[in-house]
Symmetry: C2
Subunit: 340 residues, 2 copies
């Protein structure tokens, strides 16, 4: 099936073309110092024998790697896939290979950070969507590699992300503006990742405080990212003696889950309960969900570009890029019943 046809080497091509290996190399790499005819001859021979270079040898000789690692906790979630697409697109453009590391569980992470230094495989690593722990940072520094974070604030490294606090405020202020007084929050947390207090949460409290509204602990429930979890959280909110008239969810997926609970409880959206999410996940538009849009793909692209300039040895124009978010009103939010 797979004929192990002997791979030709540069030396073979050189010999066949009747030139030295140095010349062959120059011809193939489009370096100067080779006459047009010689170059053509080499190229022809190479094409004829389907010559392909050995990237290992090239890299060994040149001393660079041309590879960057992308580390993320998931890929099946839209946000991550989208961001990785962005990264891949610009990196490939630059001729750099993208190595994928999927580190879902804490255990995976640990093993990733342990083994990484053992194999000097990449020029840089892009960490997508989770904070890097102290110990992990130490490992990373060991191998003398550039690090960039995308889609997760991370002051330690150059990073690109949204302003979580601002996004949260956009959502909350919208609800407040509509006249809601009793607003619930479904706080998204990640069990597997070391979690830091999110700006999305403090935005909730600040907004309430500024509106002179009480902050009632029973109105905030937390749930892992994900629709099912959002649904459960919403069930909790719904079982309150006096449920909220509006809900602010940390993500669209969570919000959509919550919507199912509301629907199943026989309540209508937005007549009985308003709901707003964050992300502008494709599903948001399909569900007519009001949300705070964040550009995801470009976060990936920007992070990749940072890596590129870092790789060129240039300084970063700015260590932290914050991409802007905007409220996208659809039809899951409306003034509370009594105000209509």
């Amino acid at each position: 099936m797979n004929s192990p046809r002997p791979q030709m080497t540069l030396a073979d091509i050189a010999r066949l073309a009747g030139v030295g290996s140095a010349t062959a190399s120059r011809a193939l790499n489009n370096d100067k110092g080779v006459s047009t005819q010689t170059r053509q001859r080499v190229l022809d021979i190479a094409a004829q024998y389907a010559y392909v270079v050995s990237p290992e040898a090239v890299r060994l000789a040149k001393g660079n790697l041309g590879r960057v690692a992308v580390v993320a906790p998931h890929f099946s979630r839209w946000f991550f896939g989208e961001i990785v697409e962005g990264i891949e697109a610009v990196l490939r453009e630059a001729g750099i290979d993208v190595l994928l590391y999927f580190v879902g569980s804490l255990e995976d992470r640990r093993s990733f950070f342990d083994k990484l230094p053992a194999r000097r495989k990449v020029d840089a690593v892009i960490v997508v969507g989770f904070p890097v722990e102290k110990a992990e940072r130490a490992r990373l520094e060991l191998l003398n590699v550039h690090i960039v974070a995308a889609g997760g604030q991370h002051a330690v490294y150059p990073n690109v992300c949204i302003d979580d606090y601002r996004a949260g405020r956009q959502a909350m202020d919208h609800l407040l503006f509509l006249g809601h007084q009793r607003i619930g929050m479904i706080e998204a947390v990640d069990l597997d990742q070391p979690t830091e207090p999110s700006g999305r949460s403090s935005a909730y409290r600040d907004a309430l405080r500024e509106s002179k509204l009480p902050i009632e602990p029973e109105l905030v429930v937390s749930a892992p990212w994900g629709g099912e979890q959002g649904a459960e959280a919403m069930d909790a909110l719904l079982s309150l003696k006096t449920p909220p008239t509006a809900v602010y969810a940390h993500s669209d997926e969570v919000a959509v889950g919550a919507m199912r609970s509301i629907r199943r409880a026989g309540l209508r959206i937005p007549e009985d309960i308003s709901i707003v999410g964050i992300d502008d996940h494709p599903i948001a538009s399909l569900m007519d969900l009001t949300t705070v849009r964040q550009p995801v793909r470009s976060q990936g692209e920007l992070a990749a570009q940072m890596v590129l300039t870092l790789l060129e040895g240039k300084p970063l124009p700015e260590r932290e890029i914050t991409v802007s978010t905007q409220l996208t009103m659809r039809s899951t939010t409306a003034p509370p019943r009594q105000n209509r």
Copy 2:
């Protein structure tokens, strides 16, 4: 910031440990033929100086690559992300690196298949979710690499996928069993990919035919994968003089889009119109969508395992693996109005 601390080489470690480079190599690789003390000494020195091997050199010397490419048209769509997760998990387990190639547009594809052979970078490639064209196949064969297809039927190469026809029948038979007589189909197509007649479509016609129901062309509309497109397609169906009482969509995303159209048209699901999708996308559960479930992650895992056995030079126990699908009934399907 990034101290370009000189990287130690094997030779350095060997010298420091007072042994030959051969011995150092053996010690580090846990080969036999090294006394315990010597080995320990080398290991200590290596640890102390944070020695990391150069994978290029190792590969050059050993002659193998240890890398496989995963090629997919998207990553932000759940199906692809999930399948890639599966692949990555088993390949990493085996110590193999996963290179990512995202080939959304036709153009991307072309350039991918053109350049791939120019850099003998991988031992195998896994093609996810799209058929490989003739010309591309030729390129692939050129570089003497294993090829496996996942999530897309592809008789040419070893592959793992679902039985599209069967899945379609499961959906259609369900609708038919409920008593629907006028069933629409939203056929998903991919503009950027060479498309082959899908088993999902022939299932529709066969099912109708077997039930002695007429096949009306106006009842089938096609749309690119994606919610918005599904919504538009549904609009078309809705604008028929007599719209269908049930709709079979080729994917959940399309189905969910269609649901929005139905909802916006003031119709109720399933009372006025039933709808069934394929995939069991997480969103399906959130929308209470009846669908035909396919195991996605395991398709990725199985494909990766195929690659592994291929890489070991063993023959494949079976060239084609078909994973089974099952109807998952939720609440978007019910008997048509008049039959209740």
